[in-house]
């Protein structure tokens, strides 16, 4: 196979370093594998890329590690830090959504806004009432201050999850967002019953399996 063909397929070849590092998405990985199956020059380049990766890892692993002093200095500095910034426990989702939309550019709205939209769609039902602040949304959207019966979990949404994906997932488990995001994580309540831990773990496992929507899911206390 000629170099010209390799150049023509440059967009595939440029994915090889990410392919060997395991950071390609499913579709790109399949594209690369399909091309590798028929393109000998690309298979040769894959070997070159693997050598590069091996030696880059070997080189970096030969570098020193930080001394114990670095950790000592860090934690001494942390001990000396005033801890004034505590996140509010009660979060008004109406205000939170408004602030998010105001802060984010259209390009970077991403999952945070998508999640907000989903929360609004699931918990309020209408978008218009958010903007006007009319009830019943406001009541429903406030973070609950007292524990309510149910099974609780913390979740993080996948960066590319859409509002529809999130809303559908939450609805399928009768789940409600009750807090967040804090450090990118939402607290949700799944149904109104306290589930057995096996049932809860099964649901969280199912959520984790939906990697295109959920990036992280773990049990949480009430």
């Amino acid at each position: 196979m000629s170099m010209t063909e390799i150049e023509r397929d440059r967009d595939i070849a440029d994915l090889l370093p990410f392919y060997v590092s395991g950071t390609l998405g499913y579709a790109d990985r399949k594209r690369v594998e399909a091309e590798l199956a028929r393109n000998a020059a690309l298979r040769h380049e894959l070997e070159v890329v693997r050598e590069e990766q091996d030696e880059t890892i070997r080189f970096n692993e030969s570098l020193p590690v930080p001394s114990g002093k670095a950790a000592q200095k860090l934690f001494a500095a942390i001990d000396a830090e005033p801890r004034s910034q505590v996140l509010p426990k009660r979060i008004d989702l109406v205000r939170w959504f408004g602030e998010k939309v105001a802060q984010l550019s259209p390009r970077t709205l991403g999952w945070t806004a998508a999640a907000a939209v989903a929360v609004l769609a699931v918990q309020a039902g209408t978008f218009g009432s958010i903007m006007t602040g009319h009830s019943p949304f406001r009541t429903a959207a406030h973070v609950e201050s007292a524990p309510v019966a149910g099974t609780y979990a913390t979740i993080a949404f996948a960066p590319k999850a859409t509002a529809d994906d999130i809303a559908a997932l939450l609805q399928s488990y009768n789940a409600t967002i009750v807090e967040g995001p804090k450090a990118g994580i939402f607290k949700i309540r799944i149904g109104s019953d306290v589930l057995a831990s096996a049932d809860r773990d099964r649901i969280l496992g199912e959520m984790r399996a939906k990697g295109d929507v959920i990036r992280f899911a773990a049990p949480a206390a009430n």
Partner: protein, 186 residues
């Protein structure tokens, strides 16, 4: 037993949990330190900077939005700190011992070829790449960052990530060829 995810550690750190901070530091300090070291090429500067990086994490954990992996966030902070340090007039520059470890610009290609085998040539040539090129090679191959994550850390468009990586690899191949190692690509 499943390890606590980084995101959960960050949430706990945002609430002032020092144990979570220790766990996060233990999990990531070596890779972040080596990333810093590759940029500043001075061990004591990198040691100072790693403290600054994780102190920022302690202070800013509540603002982490989870739009990227925690490890990507750490590398982005580290890169910003390292580049800021390089701009400081007080930066000490390259320590002699580290210079030997990190870069070998004194050797001409023939010497390199004579003193090491194929893997050694490759390793030596990796060390000789420019700052931009070694950064992208490290991020992709060692830190295992995706196109999107590299774009976020370095602050360049995703297509530029691929282009820069291609030219870094091409430069690496040229350096290897000069050292007598023709890998048959490009």
């Amino acid at each position: 037993m499943q390890a606590t995810p980084d995101e959960a550690l960050i949430e706990r750190i945002a609430n002032g949990d020092k144990l979570a901070m220790q766990t996060l530091f233990a999990r990531h300090n070596v890779r972040v330190f080596r990333f810093l070291l590759r940029i500043v090429r001075d061990e004591s500067t990198a040691e100072d900077l790693i403290g600054e990086v994780f102190l920022d994490v302690w202070r800013q954990a509540g603002r982490f939005e989870g739009r990227s992996a925690v490890s990507t966030w750490l590398l982005a902070i580290a890169r910003y700190k390292a580049l800021s340090a390089l701009r400081r007039p007080t930066h000490q520059g390259l320590d002699d011992a580290m210079a030997e470890t990190l870069e070998d610009e004194g050797d001409d290609p023939e010497v390199i070829a004579q003193k090491v085998d194929k893997a050694g040539v490759l390793k030596t040539c990796i060390a000789k790449l420019s700052a931009d090129h070694r950064e992208i090679i490290d991020l992709v191959y060692y830190h295992e960052r995706s196109v999107e994550e590299v774009a976020e850390i370095v602050g360049i468009p995703e297509n530029t990530v691929k282009t820069r990586l291609f030219y870094a690899r091409k430069k690496l191949a040229e350096l290897c060829k000069e050292a007598g190692l023709d890998r048959g690509w490009p």
